[in-house]
Symmetry: C2
């Protein structure tokens, strides 16, 4: 089949056409991801002729799939989710310093110069924190949960001028590993593993799965948080977690997880779209399409 | 990023989500294809959580891209357009007899048993012809243009019970090649190369690029067509070609090209969707998703 487009681009329910640029999110599993809806809402709002689709790929197939997507000339960008963020770093031609420090990427732009990776988990968090009224510069930050999200957030907090970071994890080795990684990326930075007491911190961040619902243990004791502190949770369900509710009840400022997500999607869409001069300057490798 | 879906499936302008099945059309170039809009309109109308996207892939990359799409577990089907229809046949694990006879595929279903190919160009034409009131059984058919479309249509006309087929092409060798191919696929079938006189034929099919506009030579002389004959054109622009207009003016029944396309899309969507028992019987290899 080969025939011509007749209808308009990018504004209709069936908004795809032959000239649409393709982006994707790759993960295993994939059914649960919300990126397709959120990205496509944004593309439609802006009138961009682009789409983001889900691709279900297992770890053993990731390298081959990413490699062959290079050959798809209207392919623009790939969002990386669990469990591929670390492996994807090894498939790149270029990556940002922060992606290298964190050891993981969650977005790859397909360019003429090859695959360019970055990690927007921390940046999305930092933008969301600012949007909720939290200020990082000069502040003492506590991060609960030393997994992939904790790593990315810790790096962003250091980059945005935090005075110090205390890392707590139920597994002390994980916390120590994050601290070592942070000190290696930011030599001289004041980071240490801490126990589960939020007293003395200005910003408390739950980057663990704890405290989503009332019947789960909270990540830390809200009663021990200093008055005037700002509290963030990266969990998306419920929209306001039991932990944040308890903090709100104490009159603390809070940041719900969807702010991290919304701000991250905006940042990744900018990254994929190299049409602006600013993006061209930041990511000098151009793009194929 | 990993987070949960909240909105409904398949009914909204931003209808994609993490559970969407992916189909694609692959071609070089790709901007001009109309399949994404038409397939997606149909998916939306039926409430199918599926999408069809354009993939721009050059001939040298086709094999690698098709191979790696096997690894994408929510990938369902691939529509093949110019210039890949012949090469794609060689990438399959299974194909239908008609695809083998024609020597080209225009749709591949991704199944647990591997890649299953078929060619719906002729079937789409035959369904469109029937929809326009044309009857094939026992009729003498003239096909003008012995390219890929001509091959597929000739095979479908033989399959649907035509009494004989005359093939005309400006290049006699191409016409002879189609005739030889047709006789090989349908031993004993009455097929021959003919000159450009439509007299004596019941169905006249323009499968060449001629006669789209008034300033182009018509594919054959409408005045020489028998009264009561049915005339088809596979060109899509304009919707009613200059050739068909001249035939209509003579009171002949006509079939415009979009009927071939509409009926083909319906047939391919059925082929991709193995959920029906009938499809499961026809294509016993199941599907991956």
């Amino acid at each position: 089949m080969e025939f011509s487009n007749v209808s308009k681009v990018g504004r209709e329910p069936h908004f795809l056409n032959g000239a649409t640029r393709i982006c994707a999110i790759v993960g295993d599993p994939i059914e649960q991801v919300g990126s397709p809806e959120r990205f496509n809402q944004q593309y439609q709002k802006k009138g961009d002729n682009a789409v983001l689709i889900p691709l279900h790929v297992t770890p053993e197939d990731l390298a081959a799939v990413v490699k062959s997507l290079r050959a798809v000339r209207n392919f623009q960008g790939l969002v990386i989710t669990v469990p591929h963020k670390q492996q994807a770093l090894r498939l790149l031609d270029h990556c940002t310093p922060r992606a290298k420090r964190i050891g993981a990427v969650n977005a790859i732009r397909f360019t003429l110069g090859g695959l360019y990776g970055d990690n927007f988990d921390g940046e999305g968090f930092a933008r969301g924190l600012a949007a909720s009224g939290g200020r990082v510069r000069g502040k003492r930050v506590m991060i609960i949960g030393a997994g992939g999200a904790g790593h990315a957030i810790a790096d962003a907090m250091a980059e945005h001028g935090a005075e110090s970071i205390g890392v707590h994890d139920l597994d002390r080795h994980r916390a120590d590993h994050l601290v070592a990684n942070l000190r290696s990326g930011w030599p001289g930075f004041d980071a240490e593993s801490v126990d589960n007491d939020p007293a003395g911190f200005d910003i408390i961040i739950n980057a663990s799965p704890a405290g989503g619902n009332v019947d789960q243990a909270l990540p830390t004791d809200p009663a021990r948080i200093d008055a005037g502190a700002h509290v963030a949770d990266i969990l998306l369900k419920p929209r306001i977690t039991a932990f944040l509710k308890a903090c709100e009840a104490r009159g603390l400022g809070v940041m719900p997880g969807y702010l991290m997500l919304d701000n991250q999607i905006e940042a990744i869409a900018e990254f994929f779209d190299a049409s602006s001069a600013e993006a061209a300057e930041r990511y000098p490798h151009g793009k194929t399409y």
